[in-house]
């Protein structure tokens, strides 16, 4: 297991001259050119793919936002696309729903895996079994997990309402009510994805030096105060990085809402920003406005990604 980690004591090459394998023994202009050509030969496949499917689309995203295509003719329209999506009656609905999804996903999807990791870390038995269980849903094809939950959520014959009824609790309309649709999506999404976060937290917990807990014991610290003063500070970096990753990922929510509620949901209660982008592009064929809405998303998520990059550089 330890074999998968990158070997430690990574030497920095800063001090070495920039030459290496293959033909850098003798120098000379011809050899250098040949070496460079060879090296770029190794790079060409990846560079072409990045160029076509990443760098160029990035530039195109900006260009498209200011263009419109009518009857096959593309023309510049300035800020018209941006203006259109901004004044779309559902613009703020979509942002509100996205924020709501992200918030629920944080409350449930951030706290639950951490708590589960803490519990798993304390248990001395059945560790492998429990870890496999938590990770099992991650390996399901999303369509299987999502459609299964859709079946459970059915208000008439679903399992969840049956369990609630058996426990004499009030039943719910789940996905069919605008009040509970979003939270139902989050619960299903968390069930399917919490395994990865749990295992990552577990690895972080195992790196906490045991002496810290011993010292806390000597100071007479209780369970909660040990969690608060040792566990959380010791895993702070991992926690904050996962938090940012999760915000960026959940703000791009599409698959779960699309499969569970068809995208809009009751009274547009599950319409997310990415679903709105999808609608502009593939339902209304308005690629310019779709790109313009994408720019808004890029702006918001770019901020979070920036903080994440900062943090992970510090981590290294």
């Amino acid at each position: 297991m330890a074999a998968t980690t990158v070997p430690e004591n990574t030497t920095s090459h800063a001090g070495r001259p920039p030459r290496a394998a293959g033909g850098a023994v003798r120098t000379g202009r011809g050899r250098k050119v040949r070496h460079n050509l060879q090296a770029h030969g190794f790079l060409i496949g990846a560079v072409l793919c990045f160029l076509t499917f990443s760098w160029y689309p990035m530039v195109r995203e900006f260009i498209m936002s200011f263009q419109e295509k009518r009857r096959g003719v593309t023309s510049w329209v300035g800020f018209r696309n941006i203006d259109r999506v901004y004044h779309d009656p559902y613009f703020w609905t979509a942002w509100k729903n996205t924020a709501e999804f992200t918030l629920y996903a944080l409350v449930i999807g951030f706290v639950v895996p951490f708590a589960v990791a803490i519990i798993l870390n304390e248990l001395r038995h059945a560790q492998a079994y429990l870890r496999i269980l938590v990770y099992l849903p991650v390996m399901l094809p999303p369509v299987a997990g999502v459609l299964l939950f859709k079946y459970f959520y059915n208000p008439d014959y679903g399992l969840f309402n049956h369990v609630l009824k058996t426990l004499h609790l009030p039943t719910s309309q789940w996905l069919d009510s605008s009040h509970t649709a979003m939270i139902s999506v989050v619960v299903a999404a968390t069930w399917m994805s919490m395994g990865s976060a749990t295992l990552i937290y577990l690895a972080a917990l195992q790196n906490i030096p045991g002496e810290l807990y011993e010292a806390a014991d000597l100071d007479g610290a209780g369970l909660w105060s040990k969690i608060w003063h040792v566990t959380i500070p010791q895993t702070r970096l991992v926690l904050s990085m996962m938090l940012l990753l999760q915000i960026v990922a959940t703000m791009q929510e599409f698959t779960n809402v699309y499969l569970l509620t068809g995208g809009n949901g009751p009274e547009n209660s599950t319409m997310t920003v990415v679903y709105m982008v999808y609608q502009y592009a593939f339902s209304y064929n308005n690629f310019g406005s779709a790109a313009a809405l994408g720019l808004f998303l890029l702006l918001v998520l770019g901020a979070f990604s920036g903080v994440y990059a900062r943090l992970s550089r510090n981590a290294d």
């Binding site: 297991m1 330890a2 998968t4 980690t5 990158v6 004591n9 990574t10 030497t11 290496a20 394998a21 293959g22 850098a24 460079n36 060879q38 190794f42 496949g45 560079v47 793919c49 990045f50 499917f53 990443s54 760098w55 160029y56 803490i118 519990i119 560790q127 079994y129 870890r131 990770y135 099992l136 390996m139 399901l140 094809p141 369509v143 299987a144 459609l147 299964l148 939950f149 079946y151 459970f152 059915n154 049956h162 009824k165 069930w191 990865s196 990552i200 972080a204 790196n207 045991g210 002496e211 807990y213 991992v238 982008v277 593939f282 690629f287 994408g294 998303l297 770019g302 990604s305 990059a309």
Partner: protein
Amino acid sequence: MAASFTPQNRTLISPASLNRPKGRLIYRIVLTAVIVVFTVVFLGPLYWMVTGGFKSASEVVANPPTYFPHHPKPGNYHTAWSELKIARLLFNTLYYAFGALAFQLVFDVAAAYAISKLRPVLGKLILGAMLATLMIPATVLIVPQYMTVLDLPVLHVNLIGTPWAIWLPTVANGFNIFLLKRFFDSIPEDLMHAAAIDGASPLRTLWSIVLPMSRPILGVVSIFAVVNVWKDFLWPMLVEPDPQKQPINIGIRSLSQGVPENVLIAALAISAVPTLLIFLLFQRNIMSGLTAGSLKG
């Protein structure tokens, strides 16, 4: 990072308090509760899925639901297999996943090797541009990417409906480049020099020295490559409109509309088998690869 899980080091609860009779009792209770709750929460839905596939059309929507199928109908699985053409969908998914894996291994390994060991002019700049793509949320690029695939620049080829539309974009993965480059950086430069003195070409050095040493990271990259294709939804839905060519996620969803609930659930159960099998066989590698890959960043 992916430290071995087995020997317990000191954690929240002190060993001393665990050894007291009261501590031992509480531990037993918590352990049992956790095992029961986890089994119900994570295995329960899967049990419901498998048994649901055996229920009759009326039993599967019965209220209250039944815990065991009264008259098991294995025929549902047969119907699902033949009518929803699950074999076809699974084959498509495997085809896309392993094709994507092959392209990523060849192109991304070569690129990371060149950047890390051959260090050509502009290598740093190219690396920076590749890593910068990590900052761009994937869904933002979906629309311009789709337009690009619809009409490839310069070549003017339409890739929609071909496997290339799934394979090639997966190569543009900054995370792969990052993981591979960092691993290659850790391979001692002396080995490279020794190989060069022996007259080995860069390709030969990559093949005979670098790759054999890089098995762990190649494993991580491979797992991510396959799992990403297996889990992807929006992109394959856009670029593979032909039901004959769709991967399992999209295929089942588009065929699910006109199918009785019990057959659909049987189909879901079948679709879950391959990945669950792979997971149970390789769970050690997969779970440690996950922690190694995600947090080293």
